[in-house]
Amino acid sequence: MTATEIPPPDAALSPAGNPLGFGRMLRKEDARFLRGQGHYVDDLRLPGMLHGAILRSPYAHARIVSIDTSAAEAHPKVKAVITGAVLETLNLAWMPTLSGDVTAVLATDKVRYQGQEVAFVVAEDEYSARDALELIDVEYDPLPAVVDARHALDPDAPVIRDDLEGRTDNHIYDWEAGDAAACEEVFAKAEVVVAQDMIYPRVHPAPMETCGSVAHMDPVTGKLTVWTTTQAPHAHRTVYALVAGLPEHKIQIISPDIGGGFGNKVGIYPGYVLSIVGSIVTKAPVKWMEDRSENLMSTSFARDYHMHGEIAATKDGKILGLRVNVLADHGAFNGVAQPTKFPAGFFHIFTGSYDYPAAHCKVTAVYTNKALGGVAYACSFRITEAVYLVERMVDCLAFELKMDPAELRMKNLLRPEQFPYTTPTGWEYDSGNYPAALDEAKRIAGYDELRREQAERRAAAAEPGADPAAPLMGIGISFFTEGVGAGPRKHMDILGLGMADGCDLRVHPTGKAQLRLSVQTQGQGHETTFAQIVSHVLGIPPEDIEVIHGDTDNTPFGLGTYGSRSTPVSGAAAAVAAQRVKDKARIVAAAALECSPDDLEWEHGRWYVKGDPSKGQTMAEIAMASHGSLELPEGVEGHLDASVVYNPPNLTYPFGCYIAVVDVDPQTGQVKVRRFIAVDDCGPRINPMIVEGQVHGGLADGVGMALMEVIAFDSDGNNLGGSFMDYLLPTSMECPSWELGQTVTPSPHHPIGVKGVGESATVGSPAAVVNAVLDALQLRHADMPFTPAATWRAMQGRPLRPDLAIE
């Protein structure tokens, strides 16, 4: 299949009018959501359930002198008050992070960021629990805070992690990838070298549902059940077993409907652990739900990369090399959630979509007095930062060379015949036709016409008497290569757990099926698309395939949904399971038809005798036969099931080209995204409607990050993005009507060729909007987000530093 040839959807329709396989299909999960009958964690009510609330630190850095909980304990509705001192007696004051560090469940010695957990109150209702927080008296001894990551390694910087034996500074790690010497050589000889500093500021995934849990430790059976907002129920179960020393088989994690995740619900937060401790202490179920400020201030921020890029090229725009130095602000604890061998995630994919020989990056991570986190907000393990870096550097180069950025990209894009392509930092891109995607995006945008319009407007603005309010038009391009579906077990694990995923497919006697998955949907529509995957292979109508997920007692082990890994990993598991069922069905059909399996041929949903299509067995007939008394060949078991653990041989590499058109108000600095064109290639689309929805959501993220989202701090470490009044999300007014296109390049190593799409748009779109704004301003660089104030300052030649408070 060539890149531009769109495969037709599976043509046949089921009795309910759904495609038997791929194609547009309305979502199965919608029925309950539309009627207000979703089951989110906060909707759960158990008999005798109590409510927890967390007291948080007002300081970014302070020693705890004393905590007096007596008044809170005296509150008539309070059942328990838990402090770090209480947890110490249970050996639970600290817990491991996903990155080999430890983090406090409740602070014992010091608080290390504003919003850190200090005490936990359990009461009869939420209002009383929060009332009681006010009754806790904590005496703090404030310490100077490390706010600016660039000063974290100063010799006189306060040491944040004095809990760690022998620590004398705030350095976490240095990590390198690529070939520094090869870069030296290329850069020394290059005709053009452009260097640029840029910040990918701290942002937050901010799903509409905040994080929370209901824990119930049954005092009789000793079984712990936790209903919780997790994207990775199985991984959470193992971590709870390790942290609390509870037997894993006595822990059930249920992840019911999740109101958006975007990476926010990968980590394990103190609140989850505290609801468990609260339940153990009170012998009653305990619910804890964070409020929005708690969500924005304490759970899983994203990005916070200070980057210095250098790009080398010839005068006519052939890129020769790219090198990057990164200062990574990890907050007070190293809690990034990513594969163990990749401390900077997959950032070293920063070479992007281009063909050049030399690349190198060095990442230095530091502690600061900010919340922990790092890998979140649909970042594909830091590929967002990588794509932003390379796409900004390419535009900086275009700016210096006075070249059209589309032309510069076309000149350097990898060619289709170079795939599979090994990048200078060691990634093996599976497949792609990049020039086709760029051409398609330009075609949809009417790129040349847009450039003409821009030239005319600029000429008009230069005329005497020109309208000073005339908007400045900018066009920005971004080309991205994603790497998703982590990942091959031998390279990728989280906390020692290999990143393979299990899947069980059971076909019932009547030919209806249940598919059990280790991954967990947060809105991606797994109940629909995974049924379509099985339907595609087996021809069973998707409405007859029930997808079960989000319950560790009822699904096979696997690492969960993040990094766009569901389709590439679990989707492959489902396809392989369905294929195994199909193979077994052939044996059963042959037994029923009294012929050899080799004599059978498959058409959708049915094995039939070659040359005699009237003689055959449908899946429903085969299912009944395999559960019935039909004599099966020696060694063939009854029933029609398959269990698969899929260990991906490689990542899949979706890609795409985005073009943003913006108008900037020269008098206010207000940016309006006029158009946004997105061409995505994620391989064949299981359900194009859902794919487009995923892309739309990610594009809005890009507009948000480029124009308004940032969590900044003042010099005392006060979080300045702690509510939706301060941390702005794009509304319907800031988002344009998205214009989508596609090319289709299947993955050669995925059983059904699909690549995954969940994060592509979040990864690819910020650079397009930023490039467009800078194009409008005719500036080489200024940092996002381009709020009106920041845009205005950039226009005045005094750009703001977005991560710190305005001076």
Binding site: D30, M208, G259, G260, G697, T731, M733
Partner: protein
């Protein structure tokens, strides 16, 4: 204090603290968890319900303020007798206007109110009407299409309502 209010046409009553928010009354006292809560600052609109026919943010309304009034929530959108979906609900399904579903109830209550006021809104009008409802999943495109779908598929019943 005791409050009594009609929710989706049914009388409800409860002894409450005067400070209880309407969103919590609906979720806890009335047991209607379709109305969600998403922020502390009246920004997100996940809690949108109708109070006497007009959309309000129930996180910014005291339950006491609804005493003696009529409230309509997402559970009251479908036809109470037949259970048939309102065209707005149908439109959200047809046009994939929801993903995680968390913003959806509030979004649909706002949309229904818009269509009752203006049965044929254009895209700009729709975007403005839903600008107080945040959605983190859909990028709004399909929500706009869903509301347009509902506008072009008004049932006889809902046309009467909007007349």
């Amino acid at each position: 204090m005791r409050v009594t209010m009609k929710v989706n046409g049914q009388e409800t009553t409860a002894e409450i603290e005067p400070r209880l928010l309407l969103v919590h009354y609906l979720r806890e006292s009335a047991g209607l968890t379709g109305t969600h809560w998403g922020c502390d600052t009246s920004n997100c609109g996940a809690c949108t319900v109708w109070l006497d026919g007009a959309p309000v943010k129930s996180c910014t309304t005291l339950a006491a303020m609804a005493d003696g009034h009529e409230v309509r929530t997402v559970e009251g959108l479908a036809d109470p007798v037949t259970g048939d979906l309102d065209p707005v609900q149908q439109g959200f399904m047809e046009e994939h206007g929801l993903q995680c579903g968390f913003c959806t109830p509030g979004m649909m209550m706002t949309a229904r109110a818009l269509l009752d006021r203006n049965p044929d809104p254009d895209e700009d009008t729709i975007r403005e009407a839903i600008s107080g409802n945040l959605c983190r999943c859909t990028g709004y495109e399909n929500i706009v299409r869903a509301i347009r779908w509902a506008a072009t598929h008004q049932t006889v019943d809902s046309q009467e309502v909007s007349a």
